[in-house]
Each structure stands twice: as C-alpha cells, then as structure tokens.
C-alpha cells in the first residue's frame, strides 16, 4: 500500500454475543476487518461516531499516518444498527379506515402517539378516530418534513415559535397552511388532539394573521360569525374597552 486514497467503511453490527462486541471496518476496496469495539475505539474519531449513534452516514477526511506511508483516507461511516432498528414503522388508522405506515420516529412528533407507543398499547396499529384520512395525510407530511429538518439541525427548528427568523422551514410552513378554512380548522383540531406543538402553533398563528388589521365586522364576515349581541349589549362591551376600539 503506497500513499493512496483509501476509504474506510465502519459498520456497527451488534452481534448476539454482547460480551465481545465487534465492529467491522471496511476498506474501499472491499476488505473487511472485524475488530473488538474496544480496539476500534482507540480511534477517537470512530469512538465518537459509535457513541453518538445517531448518524446515517458520515464521511470524514483524515490524514492517517500508517506504517507504510502517510496517506489521505476518507472514512465513510454507516450505522447499520440504525438501519436495523430505527426504521421501525407504525401504522396509523384514520377515522375513515385508511391506514398510513410511517416511521415510528415521525409518528412520535405527536406526543399523543408517543405516549401510546411508550405505554405499549400500540399493537402496531394506532386508531385515530378523531382524524380523517385527508387531514392525517397532511399531518404526516408536516411531521416528516419537520423530523427531517430536525435531523439536519438542532431540535429547536421544529418549534415554529422559537425564532422563526432562523427557521429554515418558514417558507414550507407558509405554503403548507395555504388551505381553505375547513381544512385549517381540522388541522388545528388534529394538532390539538395529537399534541403536535409546532403544528398547533403554526395553524393558530395562521388564523390570528387572518384577524389582524380587520375590524370586528370584517372578522365576522371572514369567519361567518353571527353577531348575537343586541345593539345595546354591543355598545356596552365596546364602552368597557373603549380605548381598544379607537
């Protein structure tokens, strides 16, 4: 081996025999080296990657001094354990009987579903009698998108209200809520029932924005709210908070 580029693939296949946990280091030319995990962790780089455990694949460039020569190597790390374990699926069933299979991690964007799963009541299929298929598919779309974004960035990106100026999904979110009122309110109710804070904040803020800058009569017209005050009652309410109406 002269100074050549090699790439090393590390995969962590958890063996049945946990006493001698092994990892497999695979070179770019396909040769595998099975070593004790403790040995592999002599490399701080590999140690951190294994301990982190949340990556799908990671490419690193290293300068490695070998006994042969200094060579540049690139290390591709893939966490096969993640492939085996973390693509666990769960099935959500809408009120109208349609089933949606999603990654468990995506479904757990809903605190309601998270608790059902953690309580062991999931049985692989979770019925959602309060959510129709049309709305559920949108909710799933939202959760997938925000889960992906969270995976690429800090967790705070999933919260709409925390620092929307740096929220990379602001544009996507804005398009997402461009729907008719029926759908918007159904999304609010679903987000409330499923306890998905980001979606609830987003949809509520959208409705609030529809009220901004409007007179009460305009708001009534927008939302078809029937004014059930008598003229005297309405005058009294206005008077109590006169300054707000000026």
């Amino acid at each position: 081996m002269a100074s050549s580029s090699t790439s090393v693939v590390v995969s962590n296949k958890e063996k049945e025999n946990k006493n001698t946990k092994k990892v497999t280091l695979k070179s770019s030319d396909g040769e595998s080296f099975e070593v004790d995990e403790s040995v592999a962790m002599e490399s701080q780089t590999i140690k951190h990657i294994i301990e982190d455990g949340h990556y799908s694949s990671l490419a690193l460039s290293l300068s490695v001094k070998t006994t042969m020569a200094s060579s540049s190597t690139s290390v591709v790390v893939s966490n096969k354990e993640k492939e085996n374990k973390n693509t666990k699926k769960v099935t959500l069933k809408s009120s109208d009987g349609e089933s949606f299979e999603v990654d468990e991690s995506v479904a757990m964007e809903s605190q309601t579903i998270k608790h059902i799963i953690e309580d062991g009541c999931a049985n692989n299929e979770i019925p959602l009698p309060n959510v129709t298929s049309g709305i559920l598919s949108r909710v799933i779309e939202y959760c997938k998108k925000h889960k992906e974004a969270a995976g690429e960035s800090e967790p705070s990106v999933t919260s709409y209200t925390s620092n929307s100026t740096t929220n990379p999904l602001t544009e996507w979110d804005t398009e997402f809520v461009k729907v008719d009122q029926n759908t918007l309110f159904d999304l609010i109710l679903a987000a409330n029932y499923l306890d998905i804070k980001g979606l609830l904040d987003l949809t509520c803020k959208t409705v609030a924005d529809m009220m901004k800058g409007k007179t009460p009569q305009e708001i009534r017209e927008t939302f078809h709210i029937k004014n059930d005050y008598t003229p005297e009652e309405e005058a009294e309410v206005r008077k109590e908070n006169q300054w707000a109406f000026e």
């Binding site: 049309g134 029926n182 409330n192 409705v207 009220m211 708001i219 078809h224 005050y229 908070n241 707000a244």
Partner: protein, 69 residues
C-alpha cells in the same frame, strides 16, 4: 370529510366558534392586546376569551399610549 361529525362542511358555517376555548385562546395569543380585546364584540362566545390569553404585552408602547390612566 367525516359527515357524521358535528363539524359542518358548508362554507357559510361559523366553524371557528365551535373550536374549544383553549384553542381560541391559542389563536388570540399572537395578537396584540388591542386586537385581542376587539374580538370581545364578535359575539357572546368571544366576550371574555381574550382575557385568558397569557401573552398580552402590557409593555407594548402602542398599547400603553392609548390607555387612559
């Protein structure tokens, strides 16, 4: 849509007022104090909802200017 639900799909229905209190309060929370209070005249349903929001900004200069002390 689920037609057996109490939610109506006709466009002229007042859907918003049928939402639970806590949701309407969440909707009012992003509004400025003045705007939130104005909703008190929409209908009886809305008379006191604004007062339950927890994000009313008493330090908002626009608001404070207009209050007669």
């Amino acid at each position: 849509m689920d037609k057996s639900s109490h939610k109506c799909i006709r466009n002229s229905e007042d859907l918003i007022s049928q939402l639970p209190d806590e949701i309407l309060i969440s909707i009012l929370s992003p509004l400025k104090m003045k705007e939130a209070i104005r909703t008190s005249v929409l209908s009886h349903r809305w008379e006191w909802l604004w007062s339950f929001t927890d994000t009313l900004d008493f330090d908002d200069p626009d608001t404070m200017q207009d209050i007669d002390v």
